[in-house]
Amino acid sequence: MQIWSILGALVIASLPVIPVWAENMTPEDIQKLVDEAVTKRLKEHEQREGAMERREPAQPAGQYPVPVGPMTDVKVERPGEEKVPLSFGATGSGRLVYAKPFVSAPKAIVGGYMDIQYRSQSKASIENGYGGTTNGFDQQRFVPFIYADITEHVKFASEIEIEHGIREDTTQGAEIGLEFAHIDYLVNEPFNLRAGILLLPIGKFNLLHDSPLNDLTDRPLVSRLIIPSTAAETGAGFYGTVYPGRTSKVDYELYVTTGPCGYDSNGTPRINEESGTRGSRQRKCPSDDGLDINNGKAVVGRLAFSPMLGVEVAGSSYYGNAAPNGSYNPLSITAIDWTFQRGPFEMIGEAAWAYSRGNSRAIQGNTIGFAPGSLLTGIGGNSGPGIPPQRMNGYYIQSNYHFMPAFLTKFSPKRFGEGSTFTAVIRYDKVNTNLDNSNGTGGWGNLEQISVGFNYRPIEDVVFKISYQYQPMAFNPNTSQRIHDSALVLSAATYF
């Protein structure tokens, strides 16, 4: 009705400019003419609208800026502008903030995992800055991830790690960081490119370290102290898979990365008995913006051979200068890992050797009062005379048995049906972060642990775990003493 009135008014307003209408016309004739003209204009208007409606669905899907969901006001009204790609050439008001590729064509997946644990140690060896406790809750990891299929050949993956996230004050050691974030360019299966913050392929555990994947709560000692998982560095390289035989498969990864951060700016070694190589990770480096401390780079690679389904053996190595400019003290870590699966049985493990050359001696330009090349003593984090370690090694062997009693499935198919499983686990850990320390039982990092565990997975991605750890050789960080210890650990972890 409103359109009818407007068009009528327009037609009447245009009458004075049509001279022929001014002569010999009755009011009825004029009304008739107006009606005809309005009807004609209305038809034209409807045709235009119809054409627009027919055109709109034909717009290519995903073309910027196509309205999606509730953000319909993103649409650009000016004809032709819908073909302008999102760039500096694009124009628009504040609405452009919504004109992102992930709005017009959503391809990103947001997920993640979290865990929660309760631990009870027989001795007050849980470090808390207050002398230690024997038991407590810890929400150790909350890790959102974002994954995106940018194109068929370009992929993006990242994990944001928030450790012990209950803290909000960074001075209390809150840990928030990008665990990895990389762009992959897929060329073909044998050769693909990757760049970004990369998970270092040293051993297998560092690559597959998510809490819901692991059948025990604690990570293996060798994967914490010798291979400092989670170890990641900025860098680039390539990876791929080839199939040399009928059932066999070879996977490889090879990257050039920033390299280890083996020293503080005053020349104090960051690799020590207490924490092994953990302090040398780029994420822990005190350099500005986590940048490289020298002009050298590290090379890291892993080669995995799987002769058949369920069997894999791999070797990996990492090598890079850990000292600042002016010194060359490389850190090398070499590892082997293995996986054997047969029906419900599984045997996994890895062994690693690290050599931090020259770590026990002072470097050039140190300001801690040692002549370059002389033996360092009294360095924190090391037992006895405080000599930092050079050589360290360790390994773990873990056996898993997956099962689901039939009576439970019968009792409650929803809780114990397909996809749910129980797992019995046993693991032996041995590590020594200073092979040169022959003082009695060795240094603070000469550790041994036997873990027995049991877990329940209602579905593959959720796990409730219980484990008992016996530690004939342990270390109390609160008192800096070698101890015997044991622990009961309960935890839950899930992907979301």
């Binding site: 992929k155 993956a157 990389h182 994947l213 054997f340 062994a351």
Partner: protein, 154 residues
């Protein structure tokens, strides 16, 4: 020094694994090698054969997109964000023996993306168990061809 002991354990398990984990369907026929080879080749005709070598007795298809054998989702919400893709290739191997020939059928199957959210491993194919149905199908067709050629199971 744990190195030698670990290496021995790894090698021992690898050897045992090689012996027991073949997973293929192997059969023996009282028949000439040529007849069994021809039957195998006819069975695989039209299956996107990528390589075949009579001397080695090997017929192998290329990787083919196949319907997934299981539901694929991740996380507690069972989302399907990474897709549910599987691919497989079929291998038929014929071996000469004294008076018989052996023929084995094996499917190699892979799934796109690791379980859960191991996203640094997302852009990768992961091996999974082969489809029994797919292998059975080939075995049934192969046996029919062999029967036509007068080959008798040993």
């Amino acid at each position: 020094m744990p190195t030698p002991r670990i290496a021995l354990v790894v090698l021992a398990l690898l050897s045992v694994g090689c012996a027991v984990l073949s997973g293929s369907r192997e059969q023996y026929f009282v028949c000439s090698y040529d007849s069994v080879w021809d039957a195998a080749l006819e069975t695989m005709k039209g299956q996107s054969v990528a390589t075949y070598d009579k001397e080695k007795g090997l017929i192998e298809t290329s990787w083919l997109d196949v319907p997934p054998t299981s539901e694929r989702s991740f996380g507690i919400f069972r989302r399907e964000g990474f897709g549910n893709y599987e691919r497989a290739r079929m291998t038929v191997s014929v071996k000469r023996m004294n008076d018989v020939a052996s023929v084995s059928v094996l499917e190699t199957r892979q799934q796109w993306h690791s379980r859960g959210g191991g996203t640094s491993q997302a852009t990768k194919w992961w091996p999974i168990e082969p489809s029994e149905d797919a292998m059975n199908d080939v075995v049934v067709r192969l046996n029919a061809k062999l029967k036509e050629k007068g080959c008798v199971p040993a």
